[in-house]
Each structure stands twice: as C-alpha cells, then as structure tokens.
Amino acid sequence: MSTLGEQLLHRIRDAHKRRTLTWWERIYLPAIAQGLWITSMHFWRNLFLHIAHRLGLFRDQPASVTIQYPDQRRITSPRLRTRHRLTKREDGTPRCVACMMCETVCPARCIYIVAGEHPDPNVEKVPKSFDIDLGKCVYCGYCVEACPEDAIRMDTQRHDIAAYSRDGMWLDIKELLNPGTRQFNEPPEKFVQLTPSEFRQLPQTPPPPPPGTGR
C-alpha cells in the first residue's frame, strides 16, 4: 500500500544482500596504503609546483591554494547562478512588469510579487513589492529563464547569504534593485511597497564591487 514503506523495506533487504569482503579487503592495509598514496601525491605535486612557480616554471599548471575567504574570493564563471537582482529601466523603475511568470514557475514558491499601476500606460504594470525568500530558493534559475523582460538576473556573483535568522535571507525590492545595499545585520523590509516615483528616488548606487570576482 504505502510506497514509502515498500521502498524502506527494499533498502533494508538490499543492505542485507551486501557482498562479503574478501580476505585481501579485510586486512585493510592495502586500502590504507592507497589513501596515503593519494594524499602524498597531492602534497608532493603541490610542493613541487609552488616551488616551480616561484622559479617561473610550469606556470600553466595550476597548483592548489587555500582561498582566504572572506578577504579573498574565488573567481567564478559569469554563468554561475548567484544571488538575484532586478534590472532597471533608464529612469530607475524596475524593468519588471509583474507578469508573475517567475512567481508561477518558481518550484520553491519563494517569489512574492504584488502588482501595481505604472503611470505610463505603455508600461502599465509594475511591481509594488517584489520579495524573494532566499531561505527557500533552490537556485534553479527558472525565474531568469521565464522572464520575458530580462528583468530578473542571477549574475550578482554573490552567494554569501549567511544570516542570523531565516528573515535575514529575505530579499526585499530595495535590496533586489540595488544588491549589496542592505547591511548584513539589518533586517529586511518584508513586502515593502514602493511607487514608481519612489523607485526613481532609490539610491542609484554604483553596483558595489561584486564579490566573487576574486579582486
């Protein structure tokens, strides 16, 4: 009847069917030696390469380094799906027309949009509030795919969403339009609603140096 129950039973039976180890495997020494071999191979390889790099040799062979996060950040591919942002029109209002495509497609249902009237009838619709609950987001990028207006992008190169509470992982429309303007310890303004003129008055901050470009 219950498929979950059946699956569990299956797993237990499979576990019992596990193959018995051979004598060679049961003495474990070969496996230990194998592990030591892999570790030391990396060690010697990196040691050699780092010295060689100092001498100007083998520059094209990368050697492992520890990135001193958060002072130093890793260089990520521009295609990496990172934290969302909303793009703007020239006048500072969001490009988003509150069509709810992203809200609809989002498998985590973590986008919340409230639509309002835009003073220009040729634009007609604009979000009053636009919130993403990053605590729920699965970073699938479907929202970006679905958007007909190129209004939402995942290209901020930010992936540090650590916060002291779940609420801290909430992005309100101000933070989405100007990523990085909210301080780490500031609470989000959940469901904050802005009018088109208030959008224009939002601080037109130059995008803060994107973390994650390694520089």
């Binding site: 027309v97 069509c99 495509m101 809200e103 609809t104 919340y112 007609e124 619709k125 919130d131 007909p148």
Partner: protein, 537 residues
C-alpha cells in the same frame, strides 16, 4: 407558425449530423464534435460575421465560408480540418495580430485569452509584418468597472452588440475606419449600466478587462467552483473564482480568498449574464467577518469556545423548557440560509416545542426588468416552501414589551431593516439575544452570544430562487476562522437538548428534506444537477 422545423442532414469531417433547419454551420460543427474557432459569434447575441476566424471549407463552394453565418443545408459536406481551412484560419489570425501589441505579460486576460489559445493552436510563430503597429489608447477606464485597451481589441463587436441588444444602453461603438478603427464609448457617455461587467466576460481578448480584478491575481492561480449568486432572489448561476494558491501565496490581494465571480450559463435563469451588483458583491465573504464565538452575557465581552457558547444557549433553553416557558423564545431565521439549514432549524425548533419561528428577508434594493430583483434574499422562496412564516417585526415588538426571554437571530442585520432604535429596545427587554451569522454589524454587536457561521460560498446545499427553482451551491472555500455551517451548529444544539438530529452532510439532509417536505418531494441533488429544478407549484 409553430411547426416543428425540418431536420436536415449534413456531413462534417466525415461525420453525419442531423440538425433542425435554420441551424448555422458553426452550431452543426459543434454538434458533430468538430469545434470551429470563433471570436465574434456569441450564442446570446446577433451574428456579425466580422472576425472571419470561423472559416471552413464547404465542398462545392470555391472560397472558404464563415461557419457562424452560413446556414447549414441538406447534404452539405463541410471540412473543418483540411489544409485549405487551416491555412485560411492562420492567415486570418495573422491579420488580427497585425496591430496587436505584445502585451501578454501585463494583460489580465493572459491565460484565458482566445487569441493566445487559437494562436498556439494554429499560429505561425514568425510574423511577416514588418511595418510599425498602430498606436491606440491604452488603459482607459471607460466606466466604473471596465478598463479598455483599444490596441488589444480585435473589433469583433461583441461588446457593442451586448450594449445594443442585451443591456439596451448603447454606450459602446466602433469608431473610425480601417487601421484606425477602435472601440470606444459614445461621446459624453461612460459604460455604466447594471450589466456592464458582462462585456469583460464576452470580450474574447484583453481589450476589456475588469477594474475590480485588475492586477489582483493571475488567472492560472484561480480555482473555480459552481455556485449561485446570493446578491438577489434571481439566483444567477455563477462560478466562484478563488485564489487556489492562497496557502503559498498569501500576498495576493492581501490574502482575500474570492477573486471574482463569473456568470455560468443557465438558459432558464440568467443565460450567460449576471448583474454588476451581484458580480462585485462578493466582498462580504472575506471582509468584516465574525471569527469567534463571543459572549457578552455577563460583564465584559469575551471570546469563547464553541462549547461554551452552545452550552450557554442550551442551558437557557433547557431551563425555559423545564419551566414550560418556551413561548418566550423567538427564532428569526434568514432568507440567506440554505434549504438544508432551514430544514434542520425547522426540525430542531419543532421538536423542542419552540413555536415562534419566522424568517426575515433583507431590505429591498434596486431592481430592473432584466435580471436584478428588488428582493435581495437568495432563499426566501425556499423558506416559504418549507412553511416558515415571514417577518421578525412581531417578535421584535414582543421583545421590546418584555414578553420574550430569548431571541435567536440568524444572519440578517435587523437594524438596517427595522431601524436601530427598535433593535436596541428589543435587546434591552431580552434575557438572551443570540446572533448566529457571518458578518459583523449592529445586530451582532448587540447580541449577548455571537456564533460565527459560514457564508454560502463556504457551504454545500441548495437555494430556491424567485421562480421556485432549487439550485445547488458548492463549498468553494473552507469556513472562515472558527465559523461553522449553520446546520452543524444547530445539530450541536440539538445534541445538548436531547433532540435526535444527526445528519452527516448536506446531501443526507436534502434526502430527508425531499422525503418529508411536500414541496420538495421527489427532488435530489442528482436531479437538480448544475441547472436546478423547479419546485412543484
């Protein structure tokens, strides 16, 4: 000349159908289950034949013909899926889209737009039109309820024919010619009649949209439940469209549940239409609702549990019954209750021995000679058919004179009907004023015990309209907060008082009701179906 029309036989896509003479090809195609697309055709309006999307191939005629205006003829051979038909249709669609804006993301019609639907079925995805599109007025409010976007209009003239033929107010027209033709209101007028909301329903595209529904909710978030409008005694058949996603998207429309009402076809009641008063009169479902049992019996008002509330009333009734003073108990039922509620109430009070049971209608309101009725009670005919006397006036007078101890009022705000002073006076003379209802108002505030009950959109049951048609309503929503269905509350009371009443659900009540009440004899939910059944006179 009431001769039965001659029957004719024609072949549609290889299927033979027989239809009465005078049928159009389009209707015959529908009968043959080969549906033809259409925009300007509407079964409730005259035929205009101007959108040309309904083209079909009729063997023997050189050109494609419009199915909506071509009468079916004996021996006709119609082809709705041939290459010639499909390519004709595609070309028509392309013409219709020449000046059509790319508005779907902001258009409220998206998701229920016939242009989208047919385009997806037949469309050429690469437009051949390179010229610039005509600009026309956008987002123009043309009346209190309707928003016009002339660019999206496909000039099917359905709305114009509606105001000419159905509402007979003639506010709309098509102005200018050719590319510049656009729909609009006649100079100096606005689209403001009792039925203006219907043009939104019949507009096949997003040119006319509802200002009340505007940007509130995307249509694909909506769930639909068949119901009956409770705005007046006509009982127009409707669908309740509610936010199906409310659990996950509580931000939509501030968490309201009902998004809009849409009429549902019933040839015997409202055809395809409904009035604006009913259409926009759904706010009470989510606003100003009673949420909890309240006791103001002794001292300060306080919220209470259901058990406390029902126990208090039960104890009072029991005391009066033991003292043989049940003639000092009055019950004012409401014409907003379903037949099921009224029947359970009738049985409960009859078995208790309470004689003074009446029902009260709300105050009369606006009416016209099409659908809207002055009597605003959705189920007054049902209460009459159950043999319940009318009007609370006598009971209120008795209460004011101190001749009543307990008055149990359902749903209605008696203060709007009889005036505030009378209710205050009556409340003063009573030992216990019970109010069982849905919304907060003066009568509820004066009551000593308030029992929150479900509105019709939260109930299963039947209502009887002004013609005596018993129509089914379905629960679209769960009960609000702590409210409960009226018959359930009464059944609880019956259990306290030792009256044997235990129906499991509304269908069981109706089965018993049909068996016991002569007016309802022989009726069943199956028989009532979607379209209702007339009571026996």
């Amino acid at each position: 000349m009431a001769e039965t029309p001659k029957q004719i036989t024609l072949t549609i896509d290889g299927k033979t159908v027989t239809v009465p003479d005078g049928t159009t090809v389009l209707q015959a195609c529908e009968k043959a289950n080969s549906p033809v697309p259409f925009y300007c055709y509407h079964p409730g309006l005259s035929i205009a034949g101007n959108c040309r999307i309904c083209l079909v191939e009729i063997v023997g005629t050189p050109k494609l013909q419009i199915a909506c205006y071509t009468p079916a003829a004996n021996g006709m051979v119609v082809n709705t899926t041939s290459d010639k038909t499909l390519s004709g249709r595609r070309d028509v669609l392309e013409f219709l889209l020449i000046n059509h804006p790319l508005d779907c993301p902001v258009c409220d019609q998206a998701g229920e737009c016939w242009l989208q639907d047919y385009y997806m079925q037949h469309g050429l995805y690469d437009p051949k039109f390179n010229e610039t599109k005509q600009k026309k007025p956008k987002a123009v409010p043309i009346g209190p309820t309707v928003m016009l976007d002339a660019e999206r209009c496909i000039l099917c003239s359905r709305c114009v024919r509606f105001t000419d033929e159905i509402s007979k107010t003639g506010e709309l027209g098509i102005f200018n010619r050719g590319d510049h033709a656009e729909v609009g209101v006649q100079p100096g007028k606005e689209l403001n009649n009792n039925y203006s909301g219907n043009v939104v329903d019949i507009c096949p595209v997003g040119a006319l949209t509802d200002r009340d529904f505007r940007f509130k909710c995307r249509v694909w978030y909506l769930g639909a439940t068949n119901s009956v409008c409770t705005g007046c005694s006509r009982g127009c058949n409707i669908q309740i469209h509610y936010n199906r996603e409310r659990q996950w998207r509580p931000h939509i429309a501030n968490g309201e549940r009902v998004m809009r009402l849409k009429p549902r076809y019933n040839p015997d009641v409202n055809k395809w239409w409904m009035c604006d008063e009913g259409r926009y009169g759904y706010k009470f479902i989510d606003e100003n609702r009673l949420t909890q049992v309240q006791l103001r019996h002794q001292g300060a008002p306080k919220t209470a549990t259901w058990d406390e509330g029902v126990d208090l009333i039960g104890a009072t009734l029991k005391r009066l019954r033991d003292a043989k003073q049940l003639d000092q108990v009055g019950v004012v039922l409401s014409s907003h209750l379903t037949n099921e509620d009224l029947f359970v109430a009738k049985r409960l009070f009859a078995e208790l021995g309470v004689r003074q049971v009446v029902f009260q209608r709300p105050k009369n309101g606006a009416s016209d000679n099409f659908l809207l009725q002055a009597d605003k009670s959705p189920n007054a005919k049902g209460a009459q058919a159950l043999g319940i006397a009318e009007s609370a006036e006598g009971l209120l007078e008795k209460a004011a004179k101190g001749q009543l101890k307990v008055l149990w009022v359902f749903t209605q705000d008696l203060s709007t009907i009889f005036g505030e002073a009378k209710i205050r006076e009556a409340a003063k003379g009573l030992e216990l004023l019970v109010f069982q209802g849905t919304n907060d108002h003066l009568t509820a505030q004066l009551a000593h015990v308030v029992l929150p009950s479900a509105v019709c959109a939260e109930k299963d049951g039947t209502l009887t309209n002004v013609d005596g048609r018993v129509q089914r309503i379905h629960a679209a929503l769960g009960p609000w907060a702590q409210s409960r269905g009226d018959w359930e509350i009464m059944q609880d009371m019956a259990a306290r008082l030792g009256v044997a009443l235990s129906y499991p659900d509304a269908p069981a009540i109706f089965a018993d009701l049909a068996a016991r009440e002569p007016a309802f004899n022989g009726l069943s939910y199956q028989l009532i179906g979607d379209q209702g059944v007339l009571l026996k006179a």
